[in-house]
C-alpha cells in the first residue's frame, strides 16, 4: 500500500514538472515565434495600405457590427458613440438589448433619437422573440433590437438575423474599438478568400483617457487588480494567440472583438447557448470546415484594435474567470470528438489537446503543485536547495515571458508613452507570482467543478 502511494506521489511530481516545462516552453516558443509574425504584420498593415482600403469603392466589404447589451447603462452610450466614429466606408451598428432591466434601452432611445419600425426579419437562426425594432433618425446606420432576455448567444443570433451585410463583427457593450479596427480586420478578408473569421488583440481600457468614445491617451491603470490583468492580456494576446494563429489552430476569438463570415456562422447554426459562446463558435467553425473539407483560415491580426473594461474589483474578476473556465470546459466537452482526432489535423492533434491539458486541467495540476510543494517543504521531504532553485527558475522564466511581451508591445505599438508606466507593469509582473496567480487558479478549480452552471455572473462596470 505504501509503495503504491509512493509511486502515486512520484507520478504527481512528474506531472507537475512536465506541466511546468510544457507551459513555459510553449509560451517561450510563442513569444519567439510571434516576433517574426508581429514584425511582418507591422510592415503589411501599414497606414497607407489601410487608406487604400478606405478609399477604394471596389475593395471593402460592408460589415454589420453586433453589440449585445444586457444592463449596460453605464457604458452603452460611449461604446455606440465610439462605433459611430469608425473609419470604414459602409457599416451598420445593431445593438441588441437583451431584455435589460435597467435604463439601457431608454438611454439609447433618447440619445440617438430612436423610432420603432415594423419587424421584417429573416429567421435564419432561432432566438427569443423580438419585441421591437428601432432605427435612429440621426444615424441611418444604427438599428436597435429590443428582445426578450435569452443570453448573449441568443442576442447575437437575433443580431445576425437582422443584419444585412455578408460579414458581421461582434463586440462587447463595454468595449471601445480602435477607429481603424474594421479596416485592419477586413484587410485579411480582402487579401485571402479562405479567411472566414478574424480576431484581434483586446487590451484593458482601464486607465486610458476616453473622451466622447475615443481614446485620447494610454496610461497604466491605477488599481493593482487592473494592472495584473493588463500584464495578463498583453502576454496572452501578443504571445499566445499570435502563436496559435501561426499554426492555424486558434480556438478562441474573443467575444470583445471578432469579425465573421455570416454564411459560415449560419451554416453551423449560429451561436450556441453557453457561457463561453465565443470559443464555442470558433471550435465549431474549425470542426465544420475540417469535416466538410472546406479550405479555411481563422486569422488573427496582432494589432491592438479593441479595448475593453476589465473588472475593477476582486469579486467581479473571480466571477469572470469562473465563467470563462466554465465556458472553456463546456466548449471542449461539446466538441470532444475533435480530441486527438487525425481528421481535425493540427487543431485536433495540437490545439484541442493543449486546451484540454493545459487550459482546462492545468489549474488542477498547478494547484496540486502549490499545495504539495508547501507540504513537502514543511515535512522536509525535499531539499531546500532544490526547492529554492526550482522556485527561482519558475520566477525567472515567468519574468522572461512577461518582459518579452511588454517588449513586443512597446516595440510594435508604443501604447504607453511613459517609461514609468512600463516599469510599473513589469513590477506588477513580479508581484503576480505572489498571490494573484494562485487566486485565479483556485477560482478556475472551483469553476471546473461547477461546469454545468449556466449563469453569466455580470461584473461591476464603471462609466466610460
Amino acid at each position: 500500500m505504501l509503495e503504491v502511494l509512493a509511486y502515486f506521489l512520484l507520478a504527481i511530481q512528474f506531472i507537475i514538472f512536465l506541466y511546468f516545462i510544457v507551459v513555459n516552453s510553449i509560451y517561450t516558443y510563442f513569444s519567439l515565434a510571434s516576433i517574426k509574425e508581429l514584425l511582418i504584420n507591422l510592415k503589411i498593415s501599414t497606414q497607407q495600405k489601410l487608406k487604400i482600403l478606405l478609399s477604394s469603392q471596389a475593395v471593402y466589404r460592408p460589415i454589420s457590427i453586433l453589440v449585445p447589451a444586457y444592463n449596460e447603462e453605464l457604458t452603452i452610450l460611449s461604446t455606440i458613440k465610439s462605433l459611430l466614429t469608425l473609419y470604414y466606408p459602409e457599416f451598420e451598428i445593431i445593438v441588441i438589448n437583451d431584455g435589460s432591466t435597467d435604463k439601457t434601452l431608454d438611454l439609447l432611445i433618447s440619445e440617438f433619437n430612436l423610432i420603432p419600425i415594423p419587424t421584417a426579419v429573416k429567421l435564419s437562426l432561432p432566438h427569443k422573440p423580438i419585441k421591437n425594432l428601432y432605427i435612429s433618425v440621426d444615424y441611418p446606420n444604427l438599428t436597435v433590437i429590443d428582445k426578450e432576455n435569452g443570453g448573449k448567444a441568443d442576442a447575437l443570433n437575433a443580431g445576425i438575423n437582422v443584419s444585412q451585410y455578408p460579414f458581421f463583427c461582434c463586440i462587447d457593450a463595454d468595449s471601445i474599438l480602435d477607429p481603424e479596427a474594421l479596416l485592419r480586420a477586413s484587410r485579411l478578408f480582402f487579401e485571402d478568400k479562405t479567411v472566414i473569421a478574424v480576431g484581434g488583440i483586446v487590451l484593458p481600457l482601464n486607465g486610458a483617457v476616453v473622451e466622447e468614445g475615443t481614446i485620447k491617451e494610454f496610461k497604466a491603470p491605477k488599481k493593482l487588480i487592473e494592472l495584473f490583468q493588463s500584464i495578463e492580456y498583453t502576454r496572452g494576446f501578443l504571445a499566445g494567440r499570435t502563436g496559435w494563429s501561426i499554426l492555424n489552430s486558434l480556438l478562441i476569438i474573443s467575444g470583445a472583438f471578432g469579425v465573421f463570415r455570416k454564411d459560415m456562422v449560419i451554416s453551423i447554426g449560429g451561436y450556441r447557448k453557453t457561457v463561453g459562446e465565443d470559443m464555442d463558435l470558433v471550435v465549431r467553425l474549425h470542426k465544420y470546415c475540417l469535416e466538410n473539407k472546406i479550405p479555411y483560415k481563422i486569422a488573427f491580426i496582432p494589432d491592438p484594435i479593441c479595448y475593453t473594461q476589465v473588472p475593477t474589483d476582486l469579486t467581479s474578476l473571480l466571477k469572470q474567470r469562473n465563467r470563462w473556465h466554465r465556458g472553456l470546459i463546456d466548449s471542449l466537452l461539446y466538441s470532444k470528438g475533435m480530441f486527438l482526432n487525425q481528421k481535425y489535423k493540427l487543431v485536433g492533434k495540437i490545439g484541442f489537446p493543449y486546451f484540454v491539458f493545459v487550459e482546462a486541467l492545468g489549474p488542477i495540476v498547478e494547484f496540486i503543485g502549490y499545495v504539495s510543494f508547501i507540504i513537502f517543504y514543511i515535512l522536509d521531504l525535499i531539499s531546500k536547495e532544490y526547492a529554492f532553485l526550482f522556485f527561482c527558475l519558475a520566477f525567472v522564466w515567468g519574468m522572461w515571458i512577461n518582459i518579452a511581451s511588454v517588449f513586443l508591445d512597446n516595440y510594435l505599438y508604443r501604447r504607453y508613452s511613459s517609461l514609468a508606466d512600463i516599469i510599473k507593469l513589469l513590477f506588477v509582473g513580479i508581484l503576480e507570482f505572489f498571490g494573484y496567480r494562485q487566486l485565479i487558479v483556485t477560482e478556475r478549480i472551483i469553476a471546473t467543478f461547477q461546469f454545468w452552471r449556466k449563469e453569466w455572473g455580470k461584473p461591476l462596470r464603471e462609466k466610460i
Binding site: 514584425l39 503589411i44 532544490y386
Partner: protein, 372 residues
C-alpha cells in the same frame, strides 16, 4: 517516499537548474535593459521624424506655392522615410502641375532611388516596403522593372504588392499581363475576388486616364478573356465588375452580347456592372432574369429594376417573392423610385394578401418617412 530528484543524477540536475536559471535570468535582464533603451530610442526617433516631416512639408509648400528653387536631398533612412511620407500625401492629394512638381522632388531628392534599392534587398520585408512606397509615385517608366521583379519574386505578399503597383500604371500590355498572372496559380495565397476586382479597376482607370486610344483594344481583351475556358471564373467576374466600377461604357455592347453564353454567376456580375453604370440597356437583361430560378440573379435584377420602364411590374412581382433577399432588394429599390410610382406599388401590394410583402413595404415606408 520516492522523489523525482532521486531518479536523476543529483549533480547533473543541480548544475542544470543553476545554468538554466542563470541563462534565463541574464537574458531577462538584457531584455529589460533593451526594453528601456529601445523605449528611449523609439520615442526620440519618432520625435525626430515628426520634426523632419514638419520641415519637409514647409519646404515643399514653399517650392509648390512660392516657386522657390530650394533643393531637398536625403542622407539617412530616417530622412527618406520622413520625406516619402510627406511626398506621398502631396502626390495623393494634388493633381496637375503640383503633383508633377512633387514627383520631381521625389526623383531629385533621392527618395525614389532609396526605395528602388530597397526593392532589391535580400529581406522580403524591405522589398515589400520598397514596392509599397513606390506605388504612390506611379512610376510609368518602371513597367519592365516591376514585371521582371514579379517574375523573380517568390514571396506572395511582395508579389501582390508588385501586381498592385502594375495595376496603377497599366496600359494594354500590362492589362493582358495582369489577366494572365491573376489566372496563374503560382501565387500562393487564395486571392479574394475583391483584390482581383481592385486590380482591374485600377488598371482600367489608369488606361482610361493615360491611354484612352487603347480603350477598344481593352474591350476586345476582356471579350477574349470572358470566352476563354482557361481563365478562371474569379478573374472573369472581376473583369466584368471592374468594367462597371470604372464606368467602361465601351464594354456595354460586349456585356449585352455575351449574356446568353455565360453562367448564372457571370450573368449576375454583368447585370451588376451595367446597373452600376446606370445604362438603360441593362433592362433587356433584367427582364430576362427577374423571374429566373436562381434567387441571386432575381435579387440583382430587382436591385436595378428602378432603371427600367416596367419597374412597377418587376417590383410588385418580386416584393411577393418567396425568397427574403429578393423581397428586401425590391423593398430597397423602392427607395430610389419616384413617389408616384412607389405609391402605385404600395397600392398594388395592399390589394394582395401577402403578409411578407406588406411587412417589407411598411418597413421601407417608415424609413422613407423618417429620413425625408
Amino acid at each position: 517516499m520516492i522523489l523525482l530528484t532521486d531518479l536523476i543524477n543529483k549533480y547533473f540536475l543541480m548544475n542544470f537548474l543553476y545554468v538554466f536559471t542563470l541563462i534565463l535570468g541574464l537574458s531577462a535582464f538584457f531584455q529589460f535593459l533593451l526594453l528601456i533603451i529601445q523605449k528611449i530610442r523609439i520615442e526620440k526617433r519618432e520625435k525626430k521624424k515628426k520634426k523632419l516631416e514638419k520641415e519637409y512639408t514647409k519646404k515643399i509648400m514653399e517650392i509648390l506655392y512660392a516657386n522657390k528653387a530650394e533643393e531637398i536631398k536625403i542622407k539617412t533612412s530616417l530622412e527618406a522615410e520622413a520625406l516619402s511620407n510627406v511626398l506621398i500625401s502631396f502626390v495623393s492629394n494634388y493633381t496637375g502641375e503640383k503633383q508633377h512638381k512633387a514627383l520631381k522632388i521625389a526623383h531629385k531628392s533621392g527618395v525614389i532611388d532609396f526605395y528602388l534599392k530597397k526593392c532589391s534587398s535580400k529581406s522580403w520585408l524591405d522589398r515589400l516596403d520598397g514596392f509599397e512606397k513606390l506605388a504612390y509615385f506611379k512610376l510609368y517608366e518602371h513597367k519592365n522593372f516591376y514585371i521582371n521583379a514579379l517574375k523573380n519574386e517568390n514571396k506572395s505578399y511582395v508579389q501582390l504588392q508588385i501586381i498592385y503597383n502594375l495595376s496603377l500604371i497599366a496600359d494594354k500590355d500590362i492589362f493582358l499581363f495582369l489577366i494572365e498572372i491573376l489566372s496563374d496559380t503560382h501565387i500562393k495565397v487564395s486571392l479574394s475576388l475583391k483584390f482581383i476586382e481592385q486590380i482591374f479597376v485600377n488598371a482600367l482607370k489608369s488606361i482610361l486616364e493615360k491611354c484612352k486610344n487603347e480603350e477598344l483594344l481593352i474591350v476586345k481583351s476582356i471579350e477574349n478573356a470572358l470566352l476563354d475556358d482557361k481563365i478562371n471564373i474569379d478573374v472573369k467576374k472581376s473583369l466584368v465588375h471592374s468594367s462597371g466600377y470604372a464606368n467602361l461604357k465601351s464594354a456595354v455592347n460586349l456585356l449585352l452580347s455575351i449574356f446568353n453564353k455565360v453562367s448564372d454567376d457571370l450573368k449576375t456580375a454583368i447585370i451588376r456592372a451595367l446597373g452600376r453604370m446606370g445604362v438603360p440597356e441593362v433592362c433587356q437583361l433584367i427582364n430576362k432574369s427577374y423571374m429566373s430560378k436562381n434567387w441571386i440573379l432575381r435579387t440583382v435584377s430587382t436591385q436595378y429594376a428602378y432603371l427600367c420602364e416596367n419597374t412597377v411590374e418587376i417590383l410588385t412581382k418580386n416584393l411577393c417573392d418567396s425568397n427574403y433577399y429578393v423581397r428586401r432588394a425590391a423593398g430597397l429599390a423602392l427607395l430610389k423610385l419616384d413617389p408616384k410610382l412607389r405609391n402605385k406599388i404600395v397600392e398594388l401590394i395592399n390589394e394582395t394578401n401577402d403578409r411578407y410583402a406588406k411587412e417589407m413595404i411598411n418597413l421601407i415606408l417608415k424609413r422613407i418617412s423618417n429620413y425625408a
